[in-house]
Symmetry: C2
Subunit: 426 residues, 2 copies
């Protein structure tokens, strides 16, 4: 604190020189302060807005992600435009937006069909859209593809194909990845909020640790990043994640998946049977470990309660600290390749929205795949199985299944043989 | 025939001039003839090889597709290489191959898990690979991504990012699309052979019709293509497809999906319960239509037998004639953008393999999606349902399901009530 003050007063000292540049200096300083104020104001606006949206329910969070994704797509696509050439190719910008819309139609359709199966299957208007969803999406893509080829213009081929490739890469890296973030929201808000927090936390601590201990440069792409900051942020993120995760997982609104109830908010008292990973288990510490703790923190701890999810958070923290920053380096590289400082001016004082989101996409995809692979419990319930039996099997097959299931349960000793023999004769 | 002979003899006449260029002419002509011979020879080698592979079983066809896909990837990726710059970036070529391998690991893994579920789930060695397949694939991709970012070199950024985008577009357009061709093979060889034939047939008839009636140019990209050729080929492909489809669908080896039996060949007598779309239905012609036919072809036809699949083939023929050629135009555009005549020299006398495959990828994806959306019957069988019940439901849920199913079947009048009441008490 004192150090900073000194620097500031040092700055004021210089200003006291009654030279010609003085007024300019004051102007510059005013601008700097104004910029800082704007930046701070918008930081609070963003934080406040974020929590308000978070509390307003899953659908609001999804809308937020869609808006952010669209802005990032716009900023990244704009990079590859060469304005002078673009003027002669009026369809080109339209086509980029067309590809965004049709990709989103495909991806969000897939999510909605998967997560809201019953609602979709009941609605007579949506049903045909759902059953032929992939065909409709493919048709949309084909129209875009044909329009692209039909609009190829002599002398612009290389430019147009490069743009086409760039659009496809952006669709893959930004749009598809943010789609998985939306799936995370449906699986439970904690899967959205925790990864986002881990990345932000890692960003902040990389800055702080780098500021205090940073000496060795980390990567040529970002000269300001240091190894000390990288490692320090890793440690801090792991500790933060462990406690932040254990805090969030106590709240049903965070851990309950969305089933049909998109109207839930933070105050509506969402309930569900929690995934067992969120339930704390008792661990008995080995004598030497509790002895060590006693010496270190003067407390006699013999047992601790930890939920399996907290171990999973450790993995996610490590990913947020070690791999996700490469998303940021990638974005820095893109900025350097196109000789720009920021991706845009979407957020006053902060630069483009892409500058704030660069690591979030990779983290979101990781969280999704990690969750699907290691955390998610089977999504089969008695209801869904019965539903598919009734809808997809013929009556004769239903009877056959009933018979087989009984035979199996008899074999398992769960049903008494004599009592069920009567059914197979029906 | 005479016309061609005349042209040839005209060529020989010119050669009789005793000028200096004569020997060169003879040399040129020899080369031309040798080239023609090589091209013809290789055309027959390809056709013969193709049918031999087709008869050798599904797995051989899959291997063929994988080889072709790899060659196309190699040719397309090579386009964006700038050799002089590439030398300084030794990891770059390796990374491109790494991305191909990891994408294929992901895609073929998905197919294998989907089509050979039971075999995979039983094998203790493959099982962990299957249950965490997506996570492993993502890890592989992340390694590639991190290596790419870590290998970014100052002064090459723009080149490297363009290459990265190009690689991703190729992965999407070539590798992902050919993956769906593999899925088609597993669903039944007809879904592979028919689209491939339709595209080839359309190519040939576009050439023939263009040769005889071609006047109006079709698209600036390919000056040799004409509207007359395009429309003529469309009509011919529709007629060819209708009959070729009705011929192929009579053969079990063509229409049976692969379930577990990858050892089947054309002679092993594959059997299955055919999809109802392959079974011919009787259509009674309206009097005026049969009257029309009588006047036109002097035959009294009152009823015809047509399988629903033949109508589907009409749609596929139209796609092969109207949309798939845009894949070819796209490839022409790429060649023009990079100022090359052919994509490579993979097939002696034919140019690169990409030149022969350009329309096949889009057609393969279309066939897959069309099949999934409109032709495929439900894949649920009593066995798979029972399998998922036993593996994914707890014993208490299994009992609950048994009870619910019985209640449902009683409600439907398929099971008598008094006889089953005994089970729910078990």
């Amino acid at each position: 604190m004192t150090k900073r003050k000194k620097e500031k007063s040092g700055g004021t000292d210089e200003l006291s020189n009654p030279t010609e540049g003085m007024e300019k200096r004051i102007d510059d300083n005013k601008k700097k302060w104004k910029n800082m104020a704007v930046r701070t104001l918008w930081t609070f606006v963003m934080i406040g807005g974020f929590f308000a949206i978070l509390a307003a329910g899953h659908s609001m969070v999804v809308i937020l992600v869609v808006i952010i994704q669209t802005l990032v797509y716009k900023e990244v696509i704009a990079l590859a435009h060469v304005p002078s050439k673009e003027k002669k190719l009026p369809w080109f910008k339209t086509l980029n937006w067309y590809f965004l819309v049709s990709t989103n139609y495909f991806l969000y359709g897939e999510s909605i069909i998967y997560y809201f199966k019953k609602a979709v299957l009941v609605d007579a208007f949506i049903l045909p859209l759902a059953t032929h969803h992939r065909f409709i999406s493919f048709t949309l893509y084909c129209i875009g593809f044909v329009l692209f080829v039909a609009n190829l213009k002599k002398g612009h081929y290389k430019f147009q194909f490069t743009q086409f490739a760039w659009t496809h890469m952006t669709l893959l890296i930004v749009v598809c990845q943010s789609h998985f973030i939306v799936n995370n929201i449906f699986e439970g808000l904690i899967l959205f909020l925790l990864p986002v927090s881990l990345v932000i936390c890692n960003d902040i601590f990389a800055y702080i640790c780098g500021f205090f201990w940073g000496k060795t440069p980390l990567i040529k792409l970002s000269p300001k990043k240091t190894r000390e900051g990288f490692v320090g942020a890793w440690i801090c993120t792991v500790i933060f994640g462990f406690f932040w995760g254990s805090l969030l997982m106590r709240w049903n609104y965070m851990i309950c998946p969305v089933s049909k109830d998109l109207t839930a908010t933070a105050w509506s008292g969402m309930t569900c049977e929690p995934n067992p990973v969120f339930i704390s288990q008792k661990y008995v510490l080995s004598p030497w470990l509790s002895g060590l703790l006693k010496r270190l923190i003067f407390t006699d701890i013999r047992t601790i309660w930890i939920a399996p999810f907290q171990w999973h958070v450790l993995v996610m923290s490590c990913f947020a600290s070690l791999i996700a920053p490469f998303g940021g380096f990638f974005a820095s590289g893109v900025k350097r390749a196109f000789n720009i400082k920021d991706f845009g001016q979407s957020i006053p004082g902060h630069g483009g929205i892409t500058d704030r989101m660069d690591c979030q996409f990779l983290m979101g995809l990781f969280s999704y795949i990690y969750y699907q692979s290691f955390i998610k419990t089977t999504s089969l319930s008695v209801g869904t199985v019965l539903y598919s039996i009734i809808n997809s099997l013929k009556p004769s097959e239903q009877l056959e299944l009933l018979d087989s299931l009984q035979q199996y349960l008899i074999g398992q000793g769960l049903v008494e043989e004599g009592k069920v023999a009567c059914v197979s004769t029906a």
